[in-house]
């Protein structure tokens, strides 16, 4: 079983839609959770970083962690064509990082 599982998509939504990206993880030792955004031909860019269960909001982005079910989500409100990218979730024990395979998102104008 992989440490972090993520549906690769691709996911295609119309502009303005609410996007939900999800991952599950198996390692109970994960302390921190992250979402990265990766544009084509670029390195991953840290988007959201959370520590505890619950929600963390930053503008149009909300990261949600449910440690009881080992489930992490990223919600994008009012999605824009500029949000078209691959989104990677990650968890870390503090010593090692584990990444999902990424979900490809396209927001259609």
């Amino acid at each position: 079983q992989k440490e972090v599982e993520q549906d690769p998509g691709p996911l295609s939504v119309p502009e303005g839609a609410i996007v939900s990206l999800n991952c599950t993880y198996s390692n109970s030792a994960f302390q921190y959770f992250m979402w990265y955004r990766q544009y084509s031909r670029k390195g991953p860019e840290l988007l959201m970083y959370t520590y505890s269960s619950g929600n963390k909001e930053d503008g149009r982005f909300t990261a949600q962690v449910d440690k009881s079910s080992k489930y992490i989500s990223l919600f994008i409100r009012d999605s824009q064509p500029s949000d078209s990218a691959t989104y990677l979730c990650a968890g870390t024990t503090g010593n090692q990082f584990y990444f999902g395979t990424g979900t490809s998102l396209t927001v259609i104008p």
Binding site: K2, R41, P44, L46, T92, F97
Partner: protein, 114 residues
């Protein structure tokens, strides 16, 4: 967060040759990490580079194939040696700027071996 400059951004190489990828950070960091990103797969950690000591390699990666240098706290290189088409991938360097709280990645090197 740290800013990382990575080069080359891409290269096409002949099999059997070697390519050295450079990574420059705008601040001093203890550890630098080298990752490989293959299509449809997770980011895979190749090795951790500490200044002043040998790099620590993950299972499946060896120093003869991926020698790493770390001459100071802001710079590291990864060499992909004796390349084969299976080495075609994106290679990324990264630093952990917040003690486990998040990685900053370089822009990556897209390597194609023909």
């Amino acid at each position: 967060s740290a800013v990382i400059s990575q080069k080359p951004s891409r290269d096409i190489c002949q099999r059997g040759t070697s390519l050295t990828i450079q990574c420059q950070v705008d601040s001093q960091v203890t550890m630098m990490f080298w990752y490989r990103q293959q299509p449809g797969q997770s980011l895979t950690l190749i090795a951790t580079a500490n200044q002043g000591s040998e790099a620590t390699y993950e299972s499946g990666f060896v120093i003869d194939k991926f020698p790493i240098s770390r001459p100071n706290l802001t710079f590291s290189t990864l060499t992909v040696s004796n390349m084969s088409p299976e080495d075609s991938s994106i290679y990324l360097c990264s630093v952990d700027w917040s003690a486990g709280g998040g990685y900053t990645f370089g822009s990556g090197t897209r390597l194609t071996v023909v």
